[in-house]
Subunit: 469 residues, 2 copies
Amino acid sequence: MQNFELLTQSQIEQIHEATLEVMEQIGIDFKYKKALEILSKGGANVDGFRVRFPRKMVEAQLRKVPSEFTLYARNPEHNLIIGGDQHIHVPANCAPFVTDLDKGRRYGTFDDFENLVKLTHASQNLNMLSNILVEPNDVSHELRPAKTIYACLRLSDKCFMGSAIDPDGARHTLQMISIVFGEKEPLTQKPRVIAIPCSLTPLCYDENMLGVMIEYAKAGQPQLINSLTIGGATAPATLAGALVVQNAEILAGIVFAELVREGTPVVYAMGSSCADMRSGTLSVGAPEMSIHNVMAAQMARFYKIPSRGVGTLTDSKTTDMQAGYESMMNLMAAHNGGVNFILHATGSLETINCVSYEKFIIDDEMVGMMNRISRGVQVTQDSLALEVIAEAGPGGQFLDKMHTFEHCRNEFFLPRLSDRKPYESWEKAGAISIQQIANQKWKDILEQYQPPDFPESVDKDLKKYMTEI
Amino acid sequence: MQNFELLTQSQIEQIHEATLEVMEQIGIDFKYKKALEILSKGGANVDGFRVRFPRKMVEAQLRKVPSEFTLYARNPEHNLIIGGDQHIHVPANCAPFVTDLDKGRRYGTFDDFENLVKLTHASQNLNMLSNILVEPNDVSHELRPAKTIYACLRLSDKCFMGSAIDPDGARHTLQMISIVFGEKEPLTQKPRVIAIPCSLTPLCYDENMLGVMIEYAKAGQPQLINSLTIGGATAPATLAGALVVQNAEILAGIVFAELVREGTPVVYAMGSSCADMRSGTLSVGAPEMSIHNVMAAQMARFYKIPSRGVGTLTDSKTTDMQAGYESMMNLMAAHNGGVNFILHATGSLETINCVSYEKFIIDDEMVGMMNRISRGVQVTQDSLALEVIAEAGPGGQFLDKMHTFEHCRNEFFLPRLSDRKPYESWEKAGAISIQQIANQKWKDILEQYQPPDFPESVDKDLKKYMTEI
């Protein structure tokens, strides 16, 4: 397997050099006194909020970053290696709206949140939960972190993301995973949660995010150090220039996390794209976002750090052909480019603003297809099939051969939604739309959902903790 | 730029060795006496229809194949280099049915054929015409080759594909391009047309196709030596096994074409996928087809021959989300994998059975997006943008910067169809579907279409030729 790459080695080095120049000469604003003290002590030049990073300091901290790490799930079967040639699929994150064929578009609720946890838990293609699968707008802001973490813990035994909304959210997350996992082994040795603190592009970190980073780093939990540049708006209109801004933000964040706690596992996390220049607003269906996916994976490999990119993002408002091609473009760029942590792998519509139940299911099928491609091709004496080729011979056929029977189930992807019937059969069967099929599918999954076991005493402790917030 | 690759070098060599074994020991049926004579004279072991190829013979003929070649258009601006790192986009080929939002699904007519020639001519993303853009069912079989070639010549000045339906079709094509181009320079020095003869999988060539190959090779015109294996039906269910069958057929065809005329430009042409094992019929929306795209490009590079793969193929019956994701998957696999000649780049629905006017336009947008990605990233002092990054500074913005103004038009892909508006604006504007937008677009293009100049005397000669068929 050879990843798709857009940057040459020399281009990567030019980006790296330009990044160090930005970090050393322009600097990055860290708007939190405590962070400034940590950075100053670590060797940075601090002037007001502005922090300038000597080249040697950056290089020294980058050497402390693990090239991959394990995230431990409640069910060890769902433990995840983040890095290497792994693709981890994580559903949509942070949308305020939700939509489905029956009830239409509306603000997300905690019910929706729980449904999406269940759908993720039941998926064979999604490896873990995101943090805000949809915004639970009917829960008070201060209770959201605890309630969502509780739902993730109770309704699934897969890995999940911690709250990164503010330091309180981080603390609640850490307290709750301590209640569940902390007794037996120190969390620092078995990371249980990963959070996604974000820079404020261009070239800033605010107090909230720095507080979040400190909390998770101190607890030895991994973090996705995230930059979302919008080329032409919050970053240069050139892809190379936007990449330099993104790279400077991410490296600065990594240096900071390593200073808080040496060896903190981090991911080079990118959510960058470009502005639609007619409106100045973010477009995630732009091919430039797929280019960023590929570039981020390359930069992360250059630094020997796991990468985070995007999955099935689209600007479309509905599960139409545009949603199909934009979603596949971004997801396939992530796969072919070698992105490790694919956030927004299912469900997202409307430039990250809405989650669709039907799209969640359809995207899951796309993830299955990409997994089939990434699984690659086996070449063995058996798979080369010379015997059966001779047996069939010129003009022969393979449908009735034992070799076909033995291999077809494992070799070929079996779609759950995609229609392969001839036109006439499809029409005769009612010309059912893929949305209708997906609609039935998510209802079936929710109906058949079984919660994984959870110790009652721990549940009691979690509930007690939540009443005290 | 580094292509996405699924096979390792050692796997490629194993495929190659297994292929030579099939060619040498099992052999391939060539059901045409004249072809058997040519092959026997060229060193093959002929036994009835069965032809076995000594390893040395295959290797010797492969060395004669040009690694790239130029196809000359009537308008030199549309000349095409086939090979290297070029991606040539060619619309759908061979569908009997056509559909559009207004008239629905029906058999294609010559009117439809002409419309699709015009849409291809007007496209900025399609580089040349296919041969049977849609089957003109209202034209008699014997007149179809000449009438379609005439339409391609008259309504466009881009390159086009020759008829490969039978040797008569090939001869009409060659006669007509002789009338248009033959006077000044020999066609052998300036190839004007490329045809796509196909093997009969598994491991056969019939008289018709061999006759077509002889005609084009004798005239020095390039050909796409094509194999379409259906894994599990006409080839083994293992991808490696199907690739061996495909490879044996293509290499045998190439050897044959080179024996007819040394140095005949050929393309390693693949249309392979797998069967849907529930029905035993071809699926082109299967991820296995995208894997074949990537593998074909790799095998072709191994042999230093240009490659042909597939573009926006789908099993969907309509321009829905499935059509979007399957089409993008195949097209992007072709791009990321480095396929040179991308057939079915626009318009195809229903497993190659139908061409949609709306999909033709939507797919064209997708080709533009892929071209943007394949254009890659420029890294220069200017694009690294250090000055404007310093000017904006931490917390600044880039929308009003001259650097943004100078670059945004060329750096960012500008969509013609994809909607990037926020939900509310989209709804307010009538929630217009992408199909409706595409529908209006193709009508506008046809209305604004201007035929390129064509010399009247040549037109007269062509018309005279056609009346004499």
